[in-house]
Subunit: 499 residues, 2 copies
């Protein structure tokens, strides 16, 4: 066999350990054999749905339900790449992705019927299929895939850049495989492992847990929503051993736990992604003996690529750690490798790194230097090689674990007739980590915050809507007219002091 | 990065976890950082030794010492493929391998000086370098290898076939990588794991433990010899969690343990290779709560490819288990896939399977059918897919974990002037599992067992020397003159009853 393929994951897993538990939701649980049988059934129904509209990819607008898990596996069984649509996006934002991918079909959870109706009204050629309608279909036989080729695209997830144009990140079977293997070499692999998934399945954070499940033969405890007290209760029971969180989730979990309270000793890894963690939070976890693994990763690296073990969480405070075994990082400054402690752009390399963005030749050319991917993030490494992140791509806002790109919000506000210029930055929020704040220059005096807010709500996911509008006469720009976001952050601090 | 490479293993491991223990011998222990520094030093000395005699490969005639571990890693650092010479072979047998590989240099442990003197007398062009002489060399700087390419040959180990001509099995970095990963997905990976190595480093069983050590970041407890009572004592201490054994070793360990005695509860895996295990041994282990993982593998699969978990050790008694996650097996009969329970030849497929034998075009053509490798072994799978081996390549004898090929012994005896015909089969031995027994037809009456034994000792490793000679008038052959070894086994049983 080629180095570049493995047996079909779910099929092989169901063959090797049919009776192990694969998935536990609030309602029921499946063994790998049951998951395999149910997946084949759903795949047969999708085959029926696509008989006259075959395509290499398909949109999924889903929630964290067992049905969604089946859909994700079923598309793999049919060799169809899944385009994971972020269900928090507005219909307009989703519309862009539909057209960018040229989707012919979207399978959706009924709870998004409203967005789907809007999308359908603009895209009469796209087949919108609800999960419950799909269930009524007959099953058409399909050829079982024996081998997953590492080069083949498994999933597509959209991410935005500084330009504001979202780009579809192509994640191959190889990317997911190596991500799972790299993680296991770092975190270890125990027979009793169970991974709690309360992060979205449409994000790499959630999707990657499903891949680990079939590759490791490990049960996933799936939560449809992030119910803090229920999850805290679960972690005290000793069944869940690993959980993926972002700072905001962990914060809320720690606040809900009573003083001196902790989790079961079986719980061995709180995998923390989505931006640097604040010191007090890490200290709280340390006091409670909760092992936090800080990580650095992105959609383009198919989950974490750098991780800090708990043994270093205090001595290397603020560090994201070292690369996974199959991966590498380097810091580049002025096209040279930076010295220890010297700031520069973070480059990453490894078999878990995307092969590129869909139909974005220019971005692909700009993002890769040989095998190295330029993250756009700024950081440094110390003399031992531990990575310290200074800034997510200078302007990126991470709000409750979601990436928010100022450029998109700025574009939206600029499309409003009376707005002349806009600059958006992240400002601290105790609940979400950061939230967007817009500095607005208007053409006339009588523009109200309310009308701008309404406009944003019509075009943007609610987590992207600025939580604060500040009207100014002019924006700070440098000689080449580049917006100076750091100055805006200073302005916000002054504003705060005046309030 | 390509799917087909990883960062340099030892270098990456020393970078990621410099302070973890890498190697513990009876004398001292090394962290990965120390192992890396010492390895670089030895590599620099080898570089000096090869300045005027570069070659893609080098012979190693070594024992299970820390020096040997350094040599193995040092050759990887220089990009030189290691030809692992079996130190139990006779000088004549080694000579064949030297010439077959075209070796220019052999680094050897002083304890094999006798064999080396013989080899040197026949191969004046081969540089024979003892480890202690190597130690006195200066270090020549060499370029560090950043990436291990999966296609590159890492090691070569000789194995024989039914024809009696030993063949060099090419094991790539990819083979070793995938073997380690496949094993970890099956056995799990614990932070406290420590693997005891008392199997030879020149065999894949031992060599593969060293590769797992750097890939997992796991210490190896290395034993120079198989000291039963010392090892039994070690396994009671709770530091060692995994050990590789063959049936004969496990038998001796169980015999040495006092009644009712067992190992520490941390000891979680006795990885048993080298042929089917007898039921009483498995039952003894079960009574003592010693978790035995039976395996099936060979030099060509770079360690085990099929493994039976202890949970099945009784319900699937006699089975070797199911394939590792990245691998597959099938049973072929008359060029068709056999039904469950139908006997046939075992075919294996996976990224841990060798890409072929060195300079053996015909054998390579005969051994591979597409991506499938024909093992020559006979077995069947049950309806759940568990493999049951019936016969190692009909004639293979496994004596104390070593493969013994009758054809080679027959060839040796046939070269003796008064011998006319010979047939060799394995006969049961309580100590070694099996030992070779030779049925001999002589040209005249007065040939003695003693002279045949002497002849064999001059040409064969001692474990290959027949432990029994039986003089007969004729050998049982079928119409096409093929030796009927099963009849010889029956003859042995009759002989036994007469004694």
């Amino acid at each position: 066999m080629e180095n570049g393929s493995t047996p079909n994951w779910l099929k092989q897993r169901a063959f090797l350990t049919p009776n192990r538990i694969a998935l536990i939701s609030s309602i029921k649980q499946y063994t790998f054999q049951e998951l395999w049988e149910r997946t084949k059934s759903i795949a047969g129904k999708i085959k029926t749905a696509t008989l006259h509209a075959e395509s290499w990819c398909m949109g999924l607008l889903i929630k964290n339900t067992e049905q969604s898990v089946l859909l994700i596996h079923a598309l793999q069984q049919l060799g169809i790449s899944a385009v994971l649509l972020n269900n928090k996006l507005s219909a307009k934002e989703l519309d862009f992705q539909l057209n960018d991918m040229g989707l012919k079909m979207v399978i959706y959870d009924e709870s998004f019927q409203g967005k789907i109706n809007e999308l359908a009204s603009w895209n009469s050629n796209v087949n919108m299929l609800s999960i419950s309608t799909l269930q009524t279909f007959n099953e058409t036989p399909f050829e079982q895939i024996e081998t997953f080729s590492f080069e083949k695209v498994c999933s597509v997830m959209y991410t935005s850049g500084t330009t504001g144009k979202p780009k579809g990140v192509l994640q191959t079977y190889g990317n997911h495989w190596w991500s799972a293997i790299g993680s296991s070499l770092n975190l270890g692999l125990h027979e009793k492992d169970m991974w709690l998934c309360a992060v979205p399945l449409f994000h790499i954070s959630g999707y990657s847990i499903l891949m680990k499940s079939v590759i490791y033969g490990m049960p996933v405890r799936l939560y449809e929503s992030f119910d803090v007290s229920e999850i805290n209760y679960e972690l005290k029971q000793g069944k869940v051993t690993i959980m993926s969180v972002v700072t905001n989730m962990l914060n809320r979990m720690m606040n809900e736990l009573r003083a001196g309270d902790s989790y079961h000793e079986n719980f061995r890894c709180m995998l923390l992604g989505g931006g640097p963690a604040p010191l007090p939070l890490l200290e709280t976890c340390k006091e409670r003996n909760i092992p936090v693994f800080q990580t650095y990763g992105m959609t383009e690296t198919s989950s974490q690529i750098v991780t800090l073990s708990p043994e270093y969480s205090i001595s290397k405070l603020g560090s994201a750690g070292k690369p996974l075994f199959p991966a590498e990082i380097k810091i580049m400054k002025n096209n040279k490798r930076a010295l220890p402690y010297e700031e520069g752009e973070i480059y990453v390399k490894g078999p878990n790194v995307t092969k590129g963005y869909y139909k974005r030749e220019e971005a692909n050319e700009n993002s890769f230097v040989g095998e190295w991917f330029q993250t756009g993030d700024i950081g440094y490494v110390d003399e031992e090689g531990f990575l310290f992140m200074l800034d997510r791509r200078s302007d990126l806002i991470i709000s409750g674990g979601e990436n928010v790109y100022p450029a998109q919000i700025e574009e939206t506000l600029l499309s409003y007739p009376t707005v002349m210029d806009v600059g958006v930055v992240g400002i601290p929020s105790s609940k979400w980590g950061e939230v967007p704040c817009a500095f607005v220059v208007t053409k006339q005096k009588n523009v109200s915050e309310e009308e701008l807010l309404l406009h944003c709500r019509q075009h943007l996911a609610s987590y992207k809507t600025p939580k604060k509008f500040i009207f100014v006469d002019e924006l700070p720009r440098n000689a080449s007219n580049k917006l100076l976001r750091r100055v805006l952050k200073d302005w916000w601090k002054k504003e705060l002091n005046q309030e």
